[in-house]
């Protein structure tokens, strides 16, 4: 598998890698994927006043999965919940130059953003 420069960069220097406290009301946590499928992403958003102030990720998966989630944390920061909800996996594919066999990694990243937002809304009774 040959990777694009951007995938290698995110893999080597992951952005916003780590965890927030799941119990924090301002934190929405999305965990998507399955170990049997070879990728699991955890994306956490710290939201205040409807704006995503900070994000963290942890990913089990191939380089493209790690890069997709790392990129997602960069993109969501500073966006409103509604704006973040609009991020499409195809934008991730384009930005990272993912080959067709790796498109599912970008789908997973999009799902992770949506799952984290849903968790936040549920916690805050906005759902």
């Amino acid at each position: 598998m040959s990777y694009s420069k951007k995938v290698i960069d995110h893999y080597s220097n992951p952005r916003n890698m780590g965890s927030f406290d799941k119990g924090d009301d301002e934190v929405g946590t999305g965990i998507v994927g399955a170990p049997e499928c070879g990728d699991v992403m955890k994306l956490q958003l710290k939201i205040s006043g409807g704006v995503i102030e900070d994000a963290r990720f942890k990913t089990f998966g191939c380089g493209s999965a790690i890069a997709s989630s790392s990129l997602a944390t960069e993109w969501v920061k500073g966006k409103t919940i509604d704006e973040a909800f609009e991020i499409k996996n195809t934008e991730i594919v384009t930005e990272l130059n993912l080959p067709p066999v790796k498109i599912h990694c970008s789908v997973l990243a999009e799902d992770a953003i949506k799952a984290a937002i849903a968790d936040y809304k549920k916690k805050n009774n906005e759902g």
């Binding site: 893999y11 965890s19 070879g38 699991v40």
Partner: protein, 405 residues
């Protein structure tokens, strides 16, 4: 001095040994004759070289030189053995027995034969990768014409009890084929003592050139007959037509000669190195699992699953080292290794496996370097892994409701 990249993928292929290369060179443009030309010295020189190579191979596997059929490699040998027996002995029966962990050259050939109407039993393996001899016995019917079991597995290095299988085949009067591609030249092979009737091998796995190999075909007790797959000039006792690849065959012969002389010493040396790598990784990291039988395996092989990290990303972190992984992401099918799955290794751990293949030119320095780098890379990826974090929090990953995709 370490030289990069480090090659640790010797099951995949090997470099040509300089001594092998040297033996081949005269046969490209000087002694270029066709071994089938009986009327001039060019042909005689080529034929002599072929005879010498046959003798070198025969010496290594303890057969008669006449029992060696040259092919383009083990894939062709496997095809010839299975299709050749199936088509020749069709009247006798239509049942073939093999095992789930065989190489694709066997499994896909067997599948094609199934389409032609043959019945194939795929024996399971235990968690160590070994077939069960009682299961084998029970699978044999009066329709069984062929048993095909590999000597050593290409992914996990596990060595099957070939002599016992050969004994069972003999008792039942069934032809026994062994894909010995990963074993010949690495561990002692004696076709008589092991009761082997047909045996595939390949030069490029034993420091010879690519695109040349052979099939051992027993001539006595019993005489095994094969329907040809390649029709033409009737070379190789009619079993494999086509002008012989003289330089390649000379190289294969030389590779066998070297292996015969150096095998025992090489095995000892590589066992030590492999054990050192294994011990280092297993003491430095928790939750790492050896795949395949701990003792019945090739000295050259180490296959380990690193829980909570994915194999492809691990290899990406080790890009100065040439390795293989059982991860789906490294295959075209997106399925994790069917060999590991057959051992009962969960998909998650199959995705997390690395195969280290040691060989003739592996050094102690490389072993130390690779061990250190693997531990570093696994540690870094575990820090990044949500699964490792959950496991450390005491969450049972099996109880989690995952979102399949």
């Amino acid at each position: 001095m370490l030289k990069f990249p480090i090659y640790m993928d010797y099951h995949s292929t090997t470099p040509v040994d300089p001594r092998v290369l040297e033996s081949m060179l005269p046969y490209f443009s000087g002694k270029f004759g066709n071994a089938a030309s009986k009327n001039h010295s060019f042909g005689w020189d080529a034929d002599e070289a072929i005879s010498k190579a046959r003798a070198q191979i025969a010496q290594l596997i303890a057969c008669n030189p006449k029992e060696v059929v040259f092919t383009s490699g083990a894939t062709e040998s496997d095809n010839l053995a299975l299709k050749g027996v199936a088509h020749m002995y069709r009247e006798k029966g239509n049942h073939i027995i093999t095992a789930v962990t065989e190489h694709k050259a066997i499994l896909d050939t067997a599948k094609r034969l199934e389409k032609e109407g043959f019945e194939v039993t795929y024996l399971p393996v235990d968690s160590d990768g070994l077939i069960n001899l009682e299961t084998l016995k029970a699978a044999i019917t009066d329709q069984t014409i062929l048993i095909s079991i590999m000597l050593a597995n290409n992914e996990i290095g596990v060595i099957q009890p070939i002599a016992e299988i050969g004994q069972i085949a003999k008792e039942k009067g069934v032809v026994f084929h062994c894909d010995a591609t990963q074993g010949v030249g690495k561990i002692p092979v004696n076709v008589d003592e092991m009761g082997i009737d047909l045996m595939s091998f390949s030069a490029h796995k034993i420091y010879g050139p690519k695109g040349v190999g052979g099939l051992y075909v027993r001539r006595k007790k019993p005489r095994v007959r094969l329907a040809a797959v390649m029709d033409g000039g009737g070379h190789e006792r009619g079993m494999r037509s086509g002008t012989l690849n003289v330089p390649g065959i000379v190289g294969l012969g030389k590779a066998c000669e070297i292996a015969e002389k150096e095998m025992i010493e090489e095995e000892l040396r590589l066992t030590k190195m492999r054990n050192k790598l294994q011990d280092y990784i297993m003491t430095e990291l928790d939750e790492v699992y050896l795949n395949g039988h701990p003792e019945n395996r090739l000295a050259q092989n180490l296959n380990i699953s690193f829980a909570y990290v994915e194999g492809e990303s691990l290899m990406m972190g080790l890009k100065e080292i040439a390795l293989s992984s059982g991860s789906a992401c490294t295959t075209a099918t997106l399925e994790p290794s069917y060999v590991l799955r057959a051992l009962g290794v969960g998909s998650d751990l199959a995705h997390s496996s690395l195969r280290f293949g040691l060989g003739r030119f592996t050094t102690d320095e490389e072993i130390d370097y690779v061990g250190k780098r693997v531990v570093e890379a696994v540690t870094r990826l575990r820090e990044m892994s949500p699964l490792y974090e959950m496991a450390k929090e005491g969450i049972d990953l099996k109880s989690v409701q995952w979102t399949e995709h």
